[in-house]
Protein backbone atom coordinates (compact mmCIF):
# COMPACT_ATOMS: atom_id res chain seq x y z
CA UNK A 1 0.00 0.00 0.00
CA UNK A 2 1.44 3.36 -1.00
CA UNK A 3 2.42 5.78 1.74
CA UNK A 4 -0.01 8.70 1.41
CA UNK A 5 2.63 11.16 2.58
CA UNK A 6 5.18 9.94 0.06
CA UNK A 7 2.56 10.02 -2.65
CA UNK A 8 1.65 13.53 -1.64
CA UNK A 9 5.34 14.50 -1.70
CA UNK A 10 5.79 13.18 -5.24
CA UNK A 11 2.60 14.91 -6.27
CA UNK A 12 3.84 18.13 -4.69
CA UNK A 13 7.10 17.92 -6.61
CA UNK A 14 5.18 17.62 -9.86
CA UNK A 15 2.99 20.53 -8.85
CA UNK A 16 6.05 22.62 -8.14
CA UNK A 17 7.60 21.84 -11.51
CA UNK A 18 4.44 22.73 -13.40
CA UNK A 19 3.44 25.82 -11.42
CA UNK A 20 6.49 27.62 -10.05
CA UNK A 21 7.04 30.00 -12.96
CA UNK A 22 3.36 30.81 -13.39
CA UNK A 23 2.87 31.31 -9.68
CA UNK A 24 5.79 33.66 -9.44
CA UNK A 25 4.55 35.62 -12.44
CA UNK A 26 1.13 36.04 -10.86
CA UNK A 27 2.52 37.08 -7.48
CA UNK A 28 5.06 39.39 -9.05
CA UNK A 29 2.32 41.10 -11.11
CA UNK A 30 0.15 41.48 -8.05
CA UNK A 31 2.80 42.75 -5.66
CA UNK A 32 4.92 44.76 -8.08
CA UNK A 33 8.39 44.10 -6.72
CA UNK A 34 10.80 41.20 -6.93
CA UNK A 35 11.73 40.90 -3.27
CA UNK A 36 8.16 40.62 -2.01
CA UNK A 37 7.24 38.33 -4.90
CA UNK A 38 10.08 35.97 -4.04
CA UNK A 39 9.18 35.94 -0.33
CA UNK A 40 5.50 35.32 -1.00
CA UNK A 41 6.20 32.67 -3.64
CA UNK A 42 8.53 30.80 -1.30
CA UNK A 43 6.03 31.14 1.57
CA UNK A 44 3.20 29.85 -0.61
CA UNK A 45 5.17 26.77 -1.64
CA UNK A 46 6.25 26.12 1.94
CA UNK A 47 2.65 26.36 3.22
CA UNK A 48 1.44 24.14 0.43
CA UNK A 49 4.19 21.63 1.20
CA UNK A 50 3.29 21.47 4.88
CA UNK A 51 -0.41 21.19 4.14
CA UNK A 52 -0.02 18.83 1.20
CA UNK A 53 -1.69 15.96 3.07
CA UNK A 54 -4.81 18.04 3.63
CA UNK A 55 -5.40 18.73 -0.05
CA UNK A 56 -8.87 17.58 -1.05
CA UNK A 57 -9.20 16.75 -4.77
CA UNK A 58 -12.96 17.05 -4.41
CA UNK A 59 -12.62 20.78 -3.87
CA UNK A 60 -10.67 21.60 -7.00
CA UNK A 61 -7.36 21.06 -8.73
CA UNK A 62 -3.98 21.15 -7.01
CA UNK A 63 -3.07 24.17 -9.10
CA UNK A 64 -6.13 26.11 -7.95
CA UNK A 65 -5.41 25.11 -4.36
CA UNK A 66 -1.80 26.31 -4.66
CA UNK A 67 -2.80 29.61 -6.23
CA UNK A 68 -5.38 30.12 -3.46
CA UNK A 69 -2.64 29.78 -0.86
CA UNK A 70 -0.42 32.16 -2.79
CA UNK A 71 -3.21 34.67 -3.23
CA UNK A 72 -3.94 34.73 0.51
CA UNK A 73 -0.26 35.26 1.25
CA UNK A 74 0.02 38.00 -1.38
CA UNK A 75 -3.10 39.80 -0.17
CA UNK A 76 -1.82 39.60 3.40
CA UNK A 77 1.41 41.17 2.19
CA UNK A 78 -0.54 43.87 0.39
CA UNK A 79 -2.64 44.55 3.45
CA UNK A 80 0.49 44.75 5.54
CA UNK A 81 2.01 47.27 3.25
CA UNK A 82 -1.36 48.86 2.50
CA UNK A 83 -0.24 50.33 -0.66
CA UNK A 84 -1.27 49.58 -4.17
CA UNK A 85 1.39 47.86 -6.17
CA UNK A 86 2.48 49.76 -9.25
CA UNK A 87 2.62 47.03 -11.79
CA UNK A 88 4.82 47.90 -14.66
CA UNK A 89 6.70 50.82 -13.24
CA UNK A 90 8.87 48.42 -11.31
CA UNK A 91 9.01 45.65 -13.86
CA UNK A 92 12.54 44.82 -14.83
CA UNK A 93 13.55 45.83 -18.23
CA UNK A 94 14.59 42.32 -19.20
CA UNK A 95 11.00 41.74 -20.27
CA UNK A 96 11.43 44.09 -23.13
CA UNK A 97 11.43 42.62 -26.56
CA UNK A 98 14.61 41.01 -27.75
CA UNK A 99 16.69 42.98 -30.24
CA UNK A 100 15.84 40.60 -33.04
CA UNK A 101 12.11 40.92 -32.49
CA UNK A 102 10.24 42.91 -34.91
CA UNK A 103 9.75 46.50 -33.94
CA UNK A 104 5.98 46.39 -34.03
CA UNK A 105 5.95 43.37 -31.72
CA UNK A 106 8.11 45.21 -29.25
CA UNK A 107 5.83 48.22 -29.39
CA UNK A 108 2.75 46.08 -28.96
CA UNK A 109 4.08 44.34 -25.88
CA UNK A 110 5.17 47.55 -24.32
CA UNK A 111 1.69 48.88 -24.91
CA UNK A 112 0.12 45.82 -23.29
CA UNK A 113 2.43 46.11 -20.33
CA UNK A 114 1.57 49.77 -19.90
CA UNK A 115 -2.15 49.14 -20.29
CA UNK A 116 -2.03 46.42 -17.66
CA UNK A 117 -0.46 48.89 -15.27
CA UNK A 118 -3.41 51.23 -15.67
CA UNK A 119 -6.02 48.63 -14.69
CA UNK A 120 -7.49 48.62 -11.19
CA UNK A 121 -5.88 46.06 -8.91
CA UNK A 122 -8.83 43.65 -9.05
CA UNK A 123 -8.80 43.47 -12.84
CA UNK A 124 -5.03 43.35 -12.87
CA UNK A 125 -5.11 40.38 -10.55
CA UNK A 126 -7.65 38.62 -12.79
CA UNK A 127 -5.47 39.11 -15.85
CA UNK A 128 -2.43 37.89 -13.92
CA UNK A 129 -4.24 34.81 -12.63
CA UNK A 130 -5.61 33.97 -16.05
CA UNK A 131 -2.75 34.76 -18.39
CA UNK A 132 0.33 34.72 -16.19
CA UNK A 133 -0.87 31.94 -13.94
CA UNK A 134 -2.52 30.08 -16.79
CA UNK A 135 -5.52 29.04 -14.73
CA UNK A 136 -8.68 27.65 -16.24
CA UNK A 137 -11.96 29.33 -15.36
CA UNK A 138 -12.74 26.49 -12.96
CA UNK A 139 -9.42 27.01 -11.19
CA UNK A 140 -10.05 30.75 -11.14
CA UNK A 141 -13.40 30.10 -9.50
CA UNK A 142 -11.67 28.04 -6.80
CA UNK A 143 -9.12 30.75 -6.14
CA UNK A 144 -11.63 33.60 -6.11
CA UNK A 145 -14.32 31.70 -4.24
CA UNK A 146 -16.93 32.25 -6.90
CA UNK A 147 -18.69 30.31 -9.63
CA UNK A 148 -17.00 29.30 -12.87
CA UNK A 149 -19.34 31.37 -15.02
CA UNK A 150 -18.84 34.38 -12.78
CA UNK A 151 -15.06 33.93 -13.02
CA UNK A 152 -15.29 33.78 -16.82
CA UNK A 153 -17.43 36.89 -16.95
CA UNK A 154 -15.01 38.78 -14.76
CA UNK A 155 -12.07 37.71 -16.93
CA UNK A 156 -13.87 38.90 -20.04
CA UNK A 157 -14.66 42.26 -18.41
CA UNK A 158 -11.01 42.66 -17.36
CA UNK A 159 -9.76 41.78 -20.85
CA UNK A 160 -12.21 44.26 -22.38
CA UNK A 161 -10.83 46.97 -20.11
CA UNK A 162 -7.30 45.95 -20.99
CA UNK A 163 -8.04 46.19 -24.70
CA UNK A 164 -9.61 49.61 -24.20
CA UNK A 165 -6.50 50.72 -22.33
CA UNK A 166 -4.31 49.37 -25.14
CA UNK A 167 -6.19 51.43 -27.69
CA UNK A 168 -6.47 54.53 -25.56
CA UNK A 169 -4.32 57.45 -26.70
CA UNK A 170 -1.22 57.65 -24.55
Amino acid sequence: MADPLNTATESFDALYRSSARDLYAYVRTLLGDDASAEDVTALAFERAYRRRASFDPGRGSQRGWLFGIARNAALDELRRRRRSAPLLGELPDDHAAAPDEEADLAVRRTTVRAALATLPARERELVALKFHGGLSNAELATVLGTSESNAGTRVHRAVAKLREACHAPS
Partner: protein, 409 residues
Protein backbone atom coordinates in the same frame (compact mmCIF):
# COMPACT_ATOMS: atom_id res chain seq x y z
CA UNK B 1 -20.05 37.92 -4.52
CA UNK B 2 -21.05 40.56 -6.96
CA UNK B 3 -23.73 39.64 -9.43
CA UNK B 4 -22.62 40.10 -13.04
CA UNK B 5 -24.76 40.11 -16.14
CA UNK B 6 -24.24 36.96 -18.16
CA UNK B 7 -22.04 37.19 -21.21
CA UNK B 8 -23.61 37.79 -24.58
CA UNK B 9 -22.99 35.14 -27.24
CA UNK B 10 -20.29 37.31 -28.80
CA UNK B 11 -18.62 37.85 -25.46
CA UNK B 12 -18.79 34.12 -24.74
CA UNK B 13 -17.15 33.48 -28.08
CA UNK B 14 -14.39 35.92 -27.23
CA UNK B 15 -13.85 34.27 -23.88
CA UNK B 16 -13.65 30.93 -25.60
CA UNK B 17 -11.07 32.34 -28.00
CA UNK B 18 -9.01 33.52 -25.04
CA UNK B 19 -9.07 30.04 -23.52
CA UNK B 20 -8.17 28.42 -26.84
CA UNK B 21 -5.29 30.80 -27.37
CA UNK B 22 -4.09 30.17 -23.83
CA UNK B 23 -4.14 26.45 -24.56
CA UNK B 24 -2.28 26.92 -27.86
CA UNK B 25 -5.27 26.04 -30.00
CA UNK B 26 -6.18 27.95 -33.17
CA UNK B 27 -8.86 30.63 -32.98
CA UNK B 28 -11.24 32.02 -35.58
CA UNK B 29 -9.62 34.55 -37.92
CA UNK B 30 -11.86 37.40 -36.75
CA UNK B 31 -10.62 36.85 -33.20
CA UNK B 32 -6.91 36.86 -33.97
CA UNK B 33 -6.57 40.03 -31.91
CA UNK B 34 -7.35 38.02 -28.78
CA UNK B 35 -4.78 35.44 -29.75
CA UNK B 36 -2.16 38.19 -30.07
CA UNK B 37 -3.21 39.69 -26.74
CA UNK B 38 -2.78 36.36 -24.99
CA UNK B 39 0.62 35.89 -26.60
CA UNK B 40 1.68 39.37 -25.54
CA UNK B 41 0.47 38.85 -21.98
CA UNK B 42 2.25 35.50 -21.71
CA UNK B 43 5.38 37.07 -23.14
CA UNK B 44 5.31 39.94 -20.64
CA UNK B 45 4.87 37.65 -17.63
CA UNK B 46 7.56 38.34 -15.04
CA UNK B 47 10.14 35.61 -14.59
CA UNK B 48 12.02 34.39 -11.56
CA UNK B 49 15.63 35.38 -11.21
CA UNK B 50 17.99 32.41 -11.56
CA UNK B 51 19.17 32.86 -7.98
CA UNK B 52 15.67 32.71 -6.54
CA UNK B 53 14.76 29.78 -8.81
CA UNK B 54 17.80 27.88 -7.51
CA UNK B 55 17.00 28.71 -3.87
CA UNK B 56 13.37 27.64 -4.27
CA UNK B 57 14.44 24.45 -6.03
CA UNK B 58 16.74 23.68 -3.13
CA UNK B 59 14.04 24.35 -0.54
CA UNK B 60 11.58 22.12 -2.34
CA UNK B 61 14.16 19.35 -2.67
CA UNK B 62 15.01 19.60 1.04
CA UNK B 63 11.41 19.74 2.14
CA UNK B 64 11.58 23.32 3.42
CA UNK B 65 13.82 22.69 6.44
CA UNK B 66 12.99 24.76 9.51
CA UNK B 67 15.61 27.22 10.71
CA UNK B 68 16.75 26.36 14.22
CA UNK B 69 15.36 29.55 15.75
CA UNK B 70 12.06 29.33 13.93
CA UNK B 71 9.30 27.42 15.69
CA UNK B 72 7.57 24.78 13.61
CA UNK B 73 4.44 25.87 11.84
CA UNK B 74 1.37 25.06 13.84
CA UNK B 75 -1.36 24.06 11.53
CA UNK B 76 -4.94 23.40 12.47
CA UNK B 77 -4.33 21.62 15.75
CA UNK B 78 -4.56 24.72 18.02
CA UNK B 79 -8.00 25.44 16.69
CA UNK B 80 -9.30 22.38 18.44
CA UNK B 81 -9.78 24.46 21.59
CA UNK B 82 -12.82 25.83 19.84
CA UNK B 83 -14.44 22.44 20.36
CA UNK B 84 -13.98 22.56 24.12
CA UNK B 85 -16.91 24.88 24.91
CA UNK B 86 -19.16 22.82 22.68
CA UNK B 87 -18.03 19.64 24.42
CA UNK B 88 -18.64 21.28 27.78
CA UNK B 89 -22.12 22.38 26.82
CA UNK B 90 -22.90 18.92 25.55
CA UNK B 91 -21.62 17.24 28.70
CA UNK B 92 -23.59 19.62 30.92
CA UNK B 93 -26.72 18.99 28.89
CA UNK B 94 -26.26 15.25 29.23
CA UNK B 95 -25.70 15.46 32.99
CA UNK B 96 -28.74 17.70 33.42
CA UNK B 97 -30.78 15.33 31.31
CA UNK B 98 -29.77 12.32 33.35
CA UNK B 99 -30.56 14.15 36.58
CA UNK B 100 -33.94 15.30 35.30
CA UNK B 101 -34.81 11.87 34.00
CA UNK B 102 -33.67 10.27 37.23
CA UNK B 103 -35.76 12.58 39.39
CA UNK B 104 -38.76 12.29 37.16
CA UNK B 105 -38.54 8.56 37.29
CA UNK B 106 -38.35 8.36 41.06
CA UNK B 107 -41.30 10.69 41.42
CA UNK B 108 -43.58 9.12 38.92
CA UNK B 109 -42.77 5.46 38.86
CA UNK B 110 -44.34 3.47 41.67
CA UNK B 111 -42.22 0.46 40.85
CA UNK B 112 -39.11 2.50 41.35
CA UNK B 113 -40.30 3.64 44.77
CA UNK B 114 -41.01 0.10 45.67
CA UNK B 115 -37.53 -1.00 44.61
CA UNK B 116 -35.97 1.74 46.64
CA UNK B 117 -38.04 0.84 49.60
CA UNK B 118 -37.19 -2.82 49.58
CA UNK B 119 -33.87 -2.63 51.39
CA UNK B 120 -35.40 -0.56 54.14
CA UNK B 121 -38.28 -2.90 54.55
CA UNK B 122 -36.06 -5.93 54.62
CA UNK B 123 -33.64 -4.55 57.12
CA UNK B 124 -34.11 -4.61 60.84
CA UNK B 125 -35.53 -1.17 60.59
CA UNK B 126 -35.36 1.13 63.55
CA UNK B 127 -38.88 2.41 63.57
CA UNK B 128 -38.53 6.11 64.07
CA UNK B 129 -36.25 8.12 61.89
CA UNK B 130 -33.99 10.89 62.97
CA UNK B 131 -36.22 13.11 60.93
CA UNK B 132 -39.29 11.90 62.78
CA UNK B 133 -37.81 12.40 66.23
CA UNK B 134 -37.58 16.17 66.07
CA UNK B 135 -41.02 16.17 64.61
CA UNK B 136 -42.20 14.24 67.61
CA UNK B 137 -40.53 16.73 69.87
CA UNK B 138 -42.21 19.52 68.06
CA UNK B 139 -45.48 17.72 68.36
CA UNK B 140 -44.98 17.27 72.05
CA UNK B 141 -44.29 20.92 72.47
CA UNK B 142 -47.44 21.87 70.68
CA UNK B 143 -50.15 22.48 73.18
CA UNK B 144 -52.81 21.75 70.61
CA UNK B 145 -51.27 18.32 70.38
CA UNK B 146 -52.11 17.62 66.80
CA UNK B 147 -48.84 17.91 64.98
CA UNK B 148 -48.24 14.98 62.68
CA UNK B 149 -45.00 13.47 61.58
CA UNK B 150 -45.47 11.49 58.45
CA UNK B 151 -43.11 9.30 56.60
CA UNK B 152 -43.64 7.30 53.46
CA UNK B 153 -41.38 4.44 52.56
CA UNK B 154 -38.18 6.06 53.68
CA UNK B 155 -35.25 4.51 51.87
CA UNK B 156 -32.90 4.67 54.81
CA UNK B 157 -33.42 4.78 58.50
CA UNK B 158 -31.26 6.62 60.94
CA UNK B 159 -30.70 6.51 64.64
CA UNK B 160 -33.64 5.13 66.60
CA UNK B 161 -35.67 7.29 68.94
CA UNK B 162 -36.98 6.10 72.32
CA UNK B 163 -39.90 3.80 71.75
CA UNK B 164 -42.05 4.58 74.73
CA UNK B 165 -45.40 6.17 75.15
CA UNK B 166 -43.85 8.86 77.27
CA UNK B 167 -41.49 10.40 74.78
CA UNK B 168 -38.66 12.47 76.11
CA UNK B 169 -38.60 15.55 73.96
CA UNK B 170 -35.61 15.71 71.72
CA UNK B 171 -34.01 19.03 70.99
CA UNK B 172 -34.96 20.35 67.63
CA UNK B 173 -33.82 23.51 65.93
CA UNK B 174 -36.55 26.09 66.10
CA UNK B 175 -38.80 23.88 68.20
CA UNK B 176 -40.81 25.34 71.07
CA UNK B 177 -39.42 24.35 74.47
CA UNK B 178 -41.48 21.42 75.72
CA UNK B 179 -43.29 21.42 79.05
CA UNK B 180 -41.46 19.50 81.79
CA UNK B 181 -42.55 15.98 82.67
CA UNK B 182 -43.47 12.92 80.65
CA UNK B 183 -45.60 13.44 77.59
CA UNK B 184 -48.55 11.32 76.55
CA UNK B 185 -48.38 10.58 72.84
CA UNK B 186 -50.78 8.62 70.71
CA UNK B 187 -49.14 6.87 67.79
CA UNK B 188 -50.79 5.48 64.71
CA UNK B 189 -49.29 3.85 61.69
CA UNK B 190 -50.38 2.65 58.29
CA UNK B 191 -48.54 -0.03 56.41
CA UNK B 192 -49.22 -1.45 52.94
CA UNK B 193 -47.52 -4.68 51.95
CA UNK B 194 -47.37 -6.51 48.65
CA UNK B 195 -46.73 -10.19 48.48
CA UNK B 196 -46.76 -12.78 45.73
CA UNK B 197 -50.18 -14.29 45.22
CA UNK B 198 -49.02 -17.79 46.03
CA UNK B 199 -47.82 -16.71 49.47
CA UNK B 200 -50.73 -14.40 50.22
CA UNK B 201 -52.40 -16.74 52.73
CA UNK B 202 -49.13 -17.48 54.49
CA UNK B 203 -48.43 -13.77 54.77
CA UNK B 204 -51.79 -13.02 56.37
CA UNK B 205 -51.16 -15.82 58.86
CA UNK B 206 -47.74 -14.38 59.58
CA UNK B 207 -49.35 -11.02 60.31
CA UNK B 208 -51.41 -12.52 63.13
CA UNK B 209 -48.40 -14.38 64.53
CA UNK B 210 -46.25 -11.27 64.40
CA UNK B 211 -48.90 -9.24 66.21
CA UNK B 212 -49.13 -11.94 68.89
CA UNK B 213 -45.38 -12.03 69.25
CA UNK B 214 -45.29 -8.33 70.13
CA UNK B 215 -48.22 -8.51 72.52
CA UNK B 216 -50.70 -6.83 70.24
CA UNK B 217 -54.21 -7.70 69.19
CA UNK B 218 -56.08 -7.85 65.92
CA UNK B 219 -59.04 -5.56 66.55
CA UNK B 220 -60.59 -6.42 63.21
CA UNK B 221 -59.60 -7.95 59.91
CA UNK B 222 -61.00 -8.40 56.46
CA UNK B 223 -59.43 -10.95 54.12
CA UNK B 224 -60.54 -11.23 50.52
CA UNK B 225 -58.88 -13.94 48.48
CA UNK B 226 -59.25 -13.66 44.73
CA UNK B 227 -57.18 -15.79 42.42
CA UNK B 228 -57.60 -13.37 39.54
CA UNK B 229 -56.92 -10.16 41.44
CA UNK B 230 -54.41 -11.70 43.79
CA UNK B 231 -56.24 -11.10 47.11
CA UNK B 232 -56.30 -8.24 49.60
CA UNK B 233 -56.48 -8.21 53.39
CA UNK B 234 -56.99 -5.35 55.84
CA UNK B 235 -56.06 -5.50 59.51
CA UNK B 236 -56.87 -3.06 62.28
CA UNK B 237 -54.22 -3.76 64.87
CA UNK B 238 -53.45 -2.56 68.39
CA UNK B 239 -49.80 -2.80 69.30
CA UNK B 240 -48.25 -1.84 72.63
CA UNK B 241 -46.72 1.53 71.96
CA UNK B 242 -43.40 0.62 73.51
CA UNK B 243 -43.09 -2.24 71.00
CA UNK B 244 -44.62 -0.52 68.01
CA UNK B 245 -41.36 0.11 66.23
CA UNK B 246 -40.21 -3.48 66.57
CA UNK B 247 -43.61 -4.70 65.48
CA UNK B 248 -43.59 -2.49 62.39
CA UNK B 249 -40.13 -3.73 61.52
CA UNK B 250 -41.34 -7.29 61.89
CA UNK B 251 -44.44 -6.69 59.82
CA UNK B 252 -42.39 -4.96 57.13
CA UNK B 253 -40.37 -8.12 56.68
CA UNK B 254 -43.44 -10.07 55.64
CA UNK B 255 -43.61 -8.54 52.16
CA UNK B 256 -42.66 -5.73 49.91
CA UNK B 257 -43.43 -2.40 51.58
CA UNK B 258 -45.51 -0.41 49.13
CA UNK B 259 -46.08 2.44 51.57
CA UNK B 260 -45.63 3.19 55.23
CA UNK B 261 -46.61 6.17 57.34
CA UNK B 262 -46.72 7.07 61.02
CA UNK B 263 -48.57 9.73 62.96
CA UNK B 264 -47.80 11.16 66.36
CA UNK B 265 -50.48 13.01 68.32
CA UNK B 266 -49.68 14.66 71.60
CA UNK B 267 -52.52 14.00 74.08
CA UNK B 268 -50.68 15.28 77.16
CA UNK B 269 -53.00 18.25 77.42
CA UNK B 270 -56.14 16.14 77.36
CA UNK B 271 -54.64 13.69 79.83
CA UNK B 272 -53.54 16.42 82.23
CA UNK B 273 -56.91 18.12 82.02
CA UNK B 274 -58.77 14.92 82.81
CA UNK B 275 -56.41 14.20 85.67
CA UNK B 276 -56.89 17.69 87.12
CA UNK B 277 -60.62 17.42 86.86
CA UNK B 278 -60.50 14.02 88.62
CA UNK B 279 -58.38 15.49 91.39
CA UNK B 280 -60.87 18.33 91.76
CA UNK B 281 -63.79 15.92 91.78
CA UNK B 282 -62.12 13.83 94.49
CA UNK B 283 -61.40 16.91 96.56
CA UNK B 284 -65.02 17.95 96.16
CA UNK B 285 -66.11 14.49 97.27
CA UNK B 286 -64.00 14.76 100.38
CA UNK B 287 -65.50 18.15 101.15
CA UNK B 288 -69.02 16.85 100.58
CA UNK B 289 -68.39 13.94 102.90
CA UNK B 290 -67.08 16.26 105.59
CA UNK B 291 -70.11 18.50 105.13
CA UNK B 292 -72.41 15.48 105.34
CA UNK B 293 -70.90 14.44 108.60
CA UNK B 294 -71.65 17.87 109.97
CA UNK B 295 -75.18 18.14 108.54
CA UNK B 296 -77.92 18.57 111.11
CA UNK B 297 -81.11 18.83 109.11
CA UNK B 298 -82.69 16.32 106.76
CA UNK B 299 -82.75 18.90 104.02
CA UNK B 300 -79.01 19.44 104.27
CA UNK B 301 -78.41 15.70 104.28
CA UNK B 302 -80.57 15.11 101.17
CA UNK B 303 -78.92 17.94 99.28
CA UNK B 304 -75.44 16.73 100.13
CA UNK B 305 -76.27 13.15 99.16
CA UNK B 306 -77.57 14.33 95.78
CA UNK B 307 -74.39 16.26 95.17
CA UNK B 308 -72.35 13.22 96.23
CA UNK B 309 -74.17 11.07 93.64
CA UNK B 310 -73.46 13.60 90.92
CA UNK B 311 -69.87 13.80 92.08
CA UNK B 312 -69.51 10.02 91.98
CA UNK B 313 -70.80 9.99 88.43
CA UNK B 314 -68.34 12.68 87.44
CA UNK B 315 -65.47 10.80 89.06
CA UNK B 316 -66.43 7.60 87.25
CA UNK B 317 -66.66 9.41 83.94
CA UNK B 318 -63.31 11.09 84.47
CA UNK B 319 -61.72 7.78 85.42
CA UNK B 320 -63.07 6.34 82.18
CA UNK B 321 -61.69 9.26 80.22
CA UNK B 322 -58.32 8.83 81.83
CA UNK B 323 -58.31 5.10 81.15
CA UNK B 324 -59.22 5.70 77.51
CA UNK B 325 -56.44 8.23 77.18
CA UNK B 326 -54.00 5.80 78.79
CA UNK B 327 -55.07 3.10 76.35
CA UNK B 328 -54.58 5.50 73.43
CA UNK B 329 -51.08 6.19 74.69
CA UNK B 330 -50.25 2.61 75.56
CA UNK B 331 -51.70 0.91 72.49
CA UNK B 332 -50.88 2.19 69.06
CA UNK B 333 -53.30 1.69 66.22
CA UNK B 334 -51.89 0.15 63.08
CA UNK B 335 -53.79 -0.13 59.80
CA UNK B 336 -52.21 -2.89 57.78
CA UNK B 337 -53.07 -3.78 54.19
CA UNK B 338 -51.68 -6.87 52.48
CA UNK B 339 -52.12 -7.16 48.75
CA UNK B 340 -51.32 -10.21 46.68
CA UNK B 341 -49.78 -9.39 43.32
CA UNK B 342 -48.91 -11.49 40.30
CA UNK B 343 -45.39 -11.00 39.00
CA UNK B 344 -45.22 -7.47 40.36
CA UNK B 345 -41.96 -5.68 40.05
CA UNK B 346 -39.90 -6.40 43.11
CA UNK B 347 -42.86 -7.65 45.10
CA UNK B 348 -43.40 -10.89 43.27
CA UNK B 349 -39.80 -11.86 43.71
CA UNK B 350 -39.54 -10.59 47.23
CA UNK B 351 -36.99 -7.98 46.17
CA UNK B 352 -34.66 -10.32 44.34
CA UNK B 353 -33.30 -9.25 40.97
CA UNK B 354 -34.74 -11.63 38.41
CA UNK B 355 -34.06 -11.99 34.69
CA UNK B 356 -37.37 -10.22 34.13
CA UNK B 357 -36.15 -7.30 36.20
CA UNK B 358 -32.92 -7.31 34.21
CA UNK B 359 -34.85 -7.17 30.96
CA UNK B 360 -36.98 -4.31 32.24
CA UNK B 361 -33.90 -2.47 33.48
CA UNK B 362 -32.16 -3.02 30.14
CA UNK B 363 -35.20 -1.66 28.32
CA UNK B 364 -35.28 1.31 30.63
CA UNK B 365 -31.58 1.96 30.02
CA UNK B 366 -32.18 1.83 26.27
CA UNK B 367 -35.12 4.22 26.62
CA UNK B 368 -33.00 6.66 28.61
CA UNK B 369 -30.14 6.37 26.11
CA UNK B 370 -32.51 7.00 23.23
CA UNK B 371 -33.92 10.00 25.06
CA UNK B 372 -30.45 11.33 25.76
CA UNK B 373 -29.48 10.84 22.13
CA UNK B 374 -32.63 12.59 20.95
CA UNK B 375 -32.18 15.56 23.25
CA UNK B 376 -28.48 15.71 22.39
CA UNK B 377 -29.36 15.83 18.72
CA UNK B 378 -31.88 18.56 19.43
CA UNK B 379 -29.07 20.54 21.03
CA UNK B 380 -26.15 19.57 18.81
CA UNK B 381 -27.81 19.88 15.39
CA UNK B 382 -28.91 23.52 15.77
CA UNK B 383 -25.59 24.36 17.39
CA UNK B 384 -23.79 22.62 14.54
CA UNK B 385 -25.80 24.47 11.91
CA UNK B 386 -25.17 27.70 13.73
CA UNK B 387 -21.47 26.88 13.90
CA UNK B 388 -21.34 26.14 10.18
CA UNK B 389 -23.14 29.39 9.41
CA UNK B 390 -20.75 31.33 11.65
CA UNK B 391 -17.75 29.59 10.09
CA UNK B 392 -18.96 30.40 6.59
CA UNK B 393 -19.67 34.00 7.53
CA UNK B 394 -16.25 34.31 9.16
CA UNK B 395 -14.61 32.79 6.11
CA UNK B 396 -16.42 35.21 3.82
CA UNK B 397 -15.53 38.15 6.04
CA UNK B 398 -11.90 37.05 6.12
CA UNK B 399 -11.86 36.76 2.33
CA UNK B 400 -13.47 40.18 1.89
CA UNK B 401 -11.02 41.65 4.37
CA UNK B 402 -8.11 40.30 2.37
CA UNK B 403 -9.55 41.47 -0.91
CA UNK B 404 -9.89 44.99 0.41
CA UNK B 405 -6.15 45.12 -0.11
CA UNK B 406 -6.94 45.24 -3.83
CA UNK B 407 -9.04 48.38 -3.45
CA UNK B 408 -7.44 51.77 -3.87
CA UNK B 409 -6.03 53.05 -0.59
Amino acid sequence: MRHLDPLTPDEARELDALDRALSGLPVDPDLRAFEELVADLRATAPEMSPAFAARLEHDVAEGFPQPAERPPLRLRRPRRWVLLPAAGVLAAALVALVVVLGNGDSQTSPSSVALNDTPASKSAAPPVTAEAAPSAAGAAADSAGAVTAQRKAAPALAAPAPATAAIAPAPAPGAIAPAPGPRKVQRTAALALETPTDSFDATTDDVVQTVDRFGGIVASSTIGSDDAAGGEASFDLRIPTDRLDDALAGLSKLGHVASRSQNLEDITGSFQSAQDRLTDARAERRGLLRALSRATTQGQIDSLRARLRANSSAISRLKGDLAALRRRADLSRVSLTVRGVKDGAGAATGGHWSPGDAARDALRVLEVMAGVALVSLAIVVPLGLLGVAVALAARGARRRGRERALDPA
